[in-house]
């Protein structure tokens, strides 16, 4: 039972970072300005590195090869929160698109703050290799969090156009955020195994960190979160994920035996 719970949690951690790092990388060359392009690429690279570490922990447990775990698993085997798979906006990065920067800022800020809370808790995980990785990830996301918080505050306090777009984005992210905060059907086992603290504890801590930032921009945090439309933790996903996986695995499938 311990192993099942552990593997379940590791898939959630790995898949979360993997898909959001991909969504971030779709902004390459399209970010609002050149400095942001540099910063965002660096953040995506870090996040992909974190995903690789979590997949490595799974490989160490006999779940398969890291490249297969990241590229070949079907949509219904993926455990990421649905929030993280949503497209950046309509269109495709190679052609016509209307990517939404406000949505990206809000989603990354919410996620990074949650990741911080999650890593804080994992530092005392009963699975030592996971606790070790959490210490390392925690140090790196210090800069990510600073980055997204700065964008969040600035766009919230800019002109009315910017404020309007941000409020809309916040609403969209609230609608999905439950998909990120839950541990899925094996949640009780995961907590009982001492792998991470309970969902509501993390939720409270996460809200606690968001509160001063929300107060500074005169926004309130909803008391209750809307239940997620699809449970990514159970392998239920949107078409967005299916399309993303097809694109990001295209090169891998050209020759799965190629060495990199």
């Amino acid at each position: 039972m311990y192993r099942t719970a552990l593997v379940e949690l590791l898939y959630q951690l790995a898949d979360d970072d993997f898909i959001l790092a991909y969504r971030g990388s779709e902004w390459l060359g399209l970010a609002p300005h050149i400095e942001e392009d540099v910063a965002f690429s660096s953040i995506n690279q870090d996040m992909m590195g974190h995903a690789a570490m979590f997949y490595q922990l799974l490989e160490d447990l006999g779940e398969g090869d890291v490249d297969d775990l990241s590229h070949s698993r079907k949509t219904n085997e993926r455990k990421n929160g649905v929030l993280l798979e949503r497209v950046n906006g309509p269109g495709h990065y190679l052609g016509k698109h209307e990517f939404d920067w406000a949505y990206t800022v809000v989603r990354h800020y919410f996620y990074t703050q949650f990741k911080k809370v999650r890593m804080d808790s994992l530092k005392t995980s009963s699975y030592q290799p996971l606790a070790d990785v959490a210490v390392k990830v925690r140090m790196e996301i210090y800069y990510h969090l600073l980055h997204w918080k700065t964008w969040f505050l600035q766009l919230m306090q800019s002109n009315s156009d910017s404020r309007g777009r941000m409020e809309k984005a916040v609403q969209r992210v609230w609608d999905d955020v439950d998909s990120l905060l839950c541990y899925g059907p094996n949640g009780d086992d995961i907590v009982k195994a001492g792998l991470i603290e309970a969902e509501d504890k993390l939720l409270q801590r996460w809200k606690h960190f968001l509160t001063p930032v929300f107060e500074a921009v005169h926004l309130s945090i909803p008391e209750k979160l809307k239940p997620a439309a699809a449970s990514g933790r159970e392998g239920v996903h949107t078409k967005d994920l299916e399309e993303a996986l097809a694109v990001l695995s295209e090169v891998y499938y050209m020759d799965t035996t190629a060495s990199w």
Partner: protein, 160 residues
Amino acid sequence: MNEEMILKALHKVKDPEIDSISIVDLGMVETIKEEENRLIIELLPTFMGCPALDIISENVKKQIISLHLYHHIDIQFIHTPPWTSNRITERGREQLKSFGIAPPPAQLSESGDWEVSCPYCGSQYTAIENLFGPTACRSILYCKSCKNPFEAMKPISTLM
């Protein structure tokens, strides 16, 4: 085990992206040990997503093979203890400067702000342009005194 020779060989392995500093002075070498005729070298990655890790590992192997002391060499990246920027040696800090990269601030101030001296003129009158630079471990700054853009190694600490 001839640790002196091994260390000397490791000093020849430079950061692929900053060729003035060795992986030893960067603080990446954690342990060198011998087990049943096998040399095991444990390295700490600076950042987890660093794409230079494979190159570093290959270069370490090449240097050790050239010593003709070991047939079996095992290079491992480990995460405990985590690499932190205060592992960079005094010599390493000087070598970074000679490359035009400011060494990381030795200690983070309480407010979290850093004070970085310009690697060219030594002025403290510098500004951060971008926390993120061309590689995961570097930031982009500007010296208001000598008007040079420069890079700095990011401070990384378990206290963050």
